[in-house]
Symmetry: C2
């Protein structure tokens, strides 16, 4: 299971998933500072905004300005979330490299999150894929695949069905999201295998929350099942406002520590990453910042131990 | 990697490792209440005390009384930690089923923890094993095998050497302890394989701390490498006073949730386990209780999802 020279792409999603889950609004300048600090730490993939009506999510009203800034950073892959065709149009015009559309396998969550059934959302996604062709990579972000707080169980057959339809609609990439923080290790392996059987190499990334403390354990299983792209949030910010009890994305700092300890190359400097939390401390005073590594620190002999192991 | 009918033994060590790491003293009655609540929740293995001079650890001064109570509970395997021969004598007289001696692979930690070099400690351990023969099972609790905050790196050769010597001294069981909270997944697999190559089936259990958020990820690897006995603390209490920065054992509630989600049988009722935290809340008001599951709750469709998966 060790692949010492393999690269894992960590996508920082805090600017989108983190910020949309807290009621306060981070200023555009602070968002730019965060993006800069993340880039300085070596992060080369970020989901920086979502194109939802400002009325619904005022936290994301400055999506265009944030993306314009992110696009100035060399080597940074910039992603935006788009819940509908209009959002996709705006995103494509902004010049983002990738758009991700949340496609819930759970009907109840889909209605609550995008006010469409999964089938309706897939219809919209097909239109988004046409629009994006030649401009941006399209990601079908399959939501609630690991369970839904509103609907309950999400049958494996439904996951397979929605995966096939998302590919037919034109998805370049399939991503799996533990929207409600219910994923467990055994299930993660089973669902990745199921979706890979349908999507092949187009299954690329997973998005875990740490609701029940299993975020990194689930990540480990995803790695063992061939996943090499992982979403996470600095300081574990995040959650989904339409999935009660789903708090906190996997923590970027802890994730990077685990990956590097296993010999995966991330290109990320852990000390700079930990230091970048100060942007959040200054921009969101009093906000609860999660994370074990930031508290305990990188073990002093960490780099040595990699060499002598 | 799934073994749906396999049993995993969870050893609650909070009454020893948890309580020794906080300055407050839990009354004997409260300890009994905790042991009863853990037993009610289905836990059948507990490390309930350590036999250290009361001057050094007043939290453990009532070891005999606590053990006498624990031994009244049907089917409960009772373990005590013993740092020296005198402690082992007291423990054996108390009637415990198992004694665990901390044998540090790191010289610096060994001197700090038991005021003996590893070699001196192994000499004492041989005496303990003679005394225990026919009375109690002896566990060589190999400490700091995954790194030491005082010494730095712990070479694999030293781990192998100490393992062999502990077996020669008469250890019935070898246990691996991440005393300082530095274990990482890849290393866990490597060290378990190394020690199993020497100790075979006598390598039985692991003891992880959650210092850097990797407790459950490390546990997952241990399970994949054949370990079926795991130490943990209710509410993640615990740590080692002689290993700076090493906070919190793996959380029992989160561990049991992960194990059961993977189909392992633990015999433990999660709701009762969560409810047993109230003993700590009452006995140690204001003490920080960790744990994700207790906050997020067991997913409502958890049992269903096991059946339909």
């Amino acid at each position: 299971m060790n692949h010492p020279t393999e690269r894992v792409i960590v996508t920082e999603v805090g600017m989108r998933d983190g910020l949309q889950s807290i009621s306060r609004i981070m200023s555009t300048d602070d968002k730019k500072r965060w993006i800069d600090a993340a880039w300085e730490a070596g992060i080369r993939s970020m989901e920086v905004a979502s194109f939802v009506p400002a009325k619904l999510l005022p936290q994301m009203a400055d999506a265009e300005a944030v993306i314009a800034h992110a696009l100035t950073l060399e080597g940074l892959v910039v992603t935006a979330l788009v819940p509908n065709v209009k959002g996709a149009q705006r995103a494509i015009e902004s010049g983002v490299h990738r758009i991700v559309a949340p496609i819930s396998v759970s009907v109840a969550h889909s209605l609550s999150n995008v006010r469409k059934t999964p089938e309706e959302m897939l219809g919209a996604f097909a239109e988004m894929c046409s629009l994006a062709k030649g401009h941006a990579e399209t990601i079908a972000g399959l939501s609630t695949v690991f369970g839904c707080t509103l609907q309950g169980n999400v049958p494996y057959d439904d996951i397979g069905h929605i995966t096939r339809q998302a590919l037919e609609a034109g998805a370049d990439v399939v991503a799996l999201g533990d929207t409600t923080g219910q994923a467990t290790p055994r299930q993660v392996g089973e669902i990745i295998d199921l979706v890979r059987g349908i999507a092949g190499h187009r299954l690329r990334s997973v998005h875990f929350h740490d609701t029940r403390g299993l975020g990194l354990a689930n990540t480990l299983i995803a790695l063992q099942h061939g996943i090499r792209e992982l979403d996470s949030s600095l300081a574990g910010l995040g959650g989904c406002p339409h999935a009660p009890g789903a708090t906190g994305n996997v923590n970027t700092e802890d994730l990077v520590f685990m990956l590097q300890s296993m010999g995966y190359e991330t290109g990320i400097d852990m000390e700079k990453l930990i230091a970048s939390r100060s942007v959040l401390e200054q921009a969101l005073p009093g906000e609860l910042l999660y994370g074990y590594l930031a508290r305990a620190g990188v073990p002093s002999q960490f780099h040595e131990s990699k060499v002598t192991r």
